[in-house]
Amino acid sequence: MTPHAQGDSAVSAAAGRAPFPERRSPPAWRDLDTETREAFDLGLAIFNTSWVIAGTPNAQRRDGLGPLFVAASCDGCHNNGARGRGEPVGNRLPNSFVMQLGGPPTVYGAVFATQALPGHVSEGRVELSWSARDGRYPDGEGWELRLPEYRLTQLAFGPLPGDAVLQPRIAPATFGSGLLEAVPHEAVMRIRALQSHAVRGELAWHEDADGKPRLGRFGWQAQAISIEDQTARALAREMGLTSRPHPQDDCTTQQAACRNAPQGGSPEVSDEFLGALVTLQANLAVPARPAGAAADSGAVLFERTGCASCHQSVLPVDTGSGTAIIDAYTDLLLHDMGEGLADRRVDGSIAGSQWRTAPLWGMAHALAGGDAGLLHDGRARSVEEAVLWHDGQARDARRAFERLPAAERRQLLDWVGSL
């Protein structure tokens, strides 16, 4: 697909897609003017760069990491902009993994920090084990899933209370973020209105800094209203880096050593750097579908089973100078996906099972690496496993998939894997 020139109001069925000849240099989805290109390139360099301890000589632009953190660079989790790598075998925790914490505030803040600068102690460790869950399709073919179990150990600030919510997350792809941001909320509302009652999603409304309602669309549960919001949160919570929109990192009032640690400036991430990161993500293309992509019979099955009710193939995008159509395969709505995928409290009770429909575009690129970790915590090693975890409002679609003949199940899965 040829990226549209700025100001081009042509409509394309695959806007935002581009070939990715080099994974480490993801392209923009449109032609960029000189200034935007410079910001894009700077954003990519920042994205890839590890931040360092405050006061590191000659590193004032990139110092201030931590002192408590999960990753030292955006790329450490976000994998050249693609979704985080999973771990297909064994009990290794993926490098792209983060344990977020919800529920009433605790000493550990919003993210469980597993790394610390010298002179500080990390908040603890996350240990992962799996239990197998297997079953059979109606036609007798077997399937196997793995259920993750997390244990937080070496807790530096005492045990977590029973009502703390464990929110295991793997980094989603940042491809196409600018296009998702440009979907008018009215379009999302129209999609919702047309969904049947059984699958109708919820709009994730939040307030912006001016108190105005904005639609959440980023993050596994649509908790962020914009690329800047999502980026500033991640910088603060997962890297200990402050910015103008997020001037406080994840050190809590009980963590005196953390709060008193030297800063890398105020804020640590300059407006220029934050702006460059936003420009990068706003213009990142989505990988084009591979040549010889799976047959459209898979698309027909995708529609027939009901998958397309939520994984919408057509979304309008306001480019600022016209309308384009993107095939993100999401409705940007929250859906109840059932107990199996729900976050749980420390005491084991279910805390929340609503998830933003994950965009499926770029799936072929994600699977090509051989280590894709699908779903919010990377538990699914394949599209098939991800489908089999669908429950709650997606139960009927999953059952329709299960009832397909094996050959049609394979067609549908191959097609999704080619997106």
Binding site: R24, S25, D41, L44, A45, I46, N48, T49, S50, V52, I53, A54, G55, T56, P57, N58, A59, Q60, R61, R62, D63, L65, A72, V89, G90, R92, N95, Q115, A116, L117, P118, G119, H120, V121, S122, P262, Q263
Partner: protein
């Protein structure tokens, strides 16, 4: 602003772990890295990296090297690093490498340097990679398919530490 010790400013990001925990941590690599971990317990040879290919020292496989790196802005790489990164406060350098037998080799380093192996003026694609932050020894390993008897350039960059330990090991010698 409070100044940190040289050790802290060198960018070593992990507090020291008890040896038992560190040894167990190395088991988290996706491969058996016993050869690399053993090498990291040996006496390293001290090497100052080159600022250009012309003054880059030649290193051997199956040896541990303690590298002294240079400010990255002073380094002229054989090819641009394959990943765009900022060089603020970063160290880097160039080494030369030649292996006798073609095959897969692991380049293991104890810090977060970006590594490139240059052949015919271009970075080789990594065959595989893995990192384990808690391992006492190699914390990042990149696997390359290397040709025999060809002088290659090993480039390091983008880390804020002036010292690093590095090994190059043939995958065929790894314990299965």
């Amino acid at each position: 602003m409070k100044l940190h010790s040289c050790l802290a400013a060198a960018g070593l990001l992990m507090a020291a772990l008890p040896p038992a925990i560190a040894a167990d941590a190395c088991a988290a690599y996706k491969w058996d890295v016993t050869p690399e971990v053993r090498l990291y317990t040996t006496q390293p040879g001290s090497v100052t990296v080159g600022a250009t290919v012309a003054d880059a020292p030649l290193i051997d496989a199956a040896r541990l090297y303690a590298l002294q790196l240079k400010p990255q802005e002073s380094v002229q790489y054989a090819a641009p690093p394959s990943k765009k990164m900022l060089a603020d406060g970063a160290y880097g350098g160039v080494l030369r490498l030649k292996v006798a037998a073609a095959g897969q080799y692991r380049v293991a380093i104890d810090s977060g340097f970006w590594l490139d192996v240059i052949h015919d003026g271009k970075p080789l694609d990594a065959a595989d990679f893995n990192g384990v932050r808690d391992c006492d020894g190699p914390r990042k390993i990149v696997v390359y398919e290397l040709p025999a008897d060809v002088e290659l350039t090993l480039q390091l960059g983008a880390a804020a530490t002036a010292q690093a330990k590095l090994t190059v090991t043939a995958v065929a010698t790894a314990t299965p």
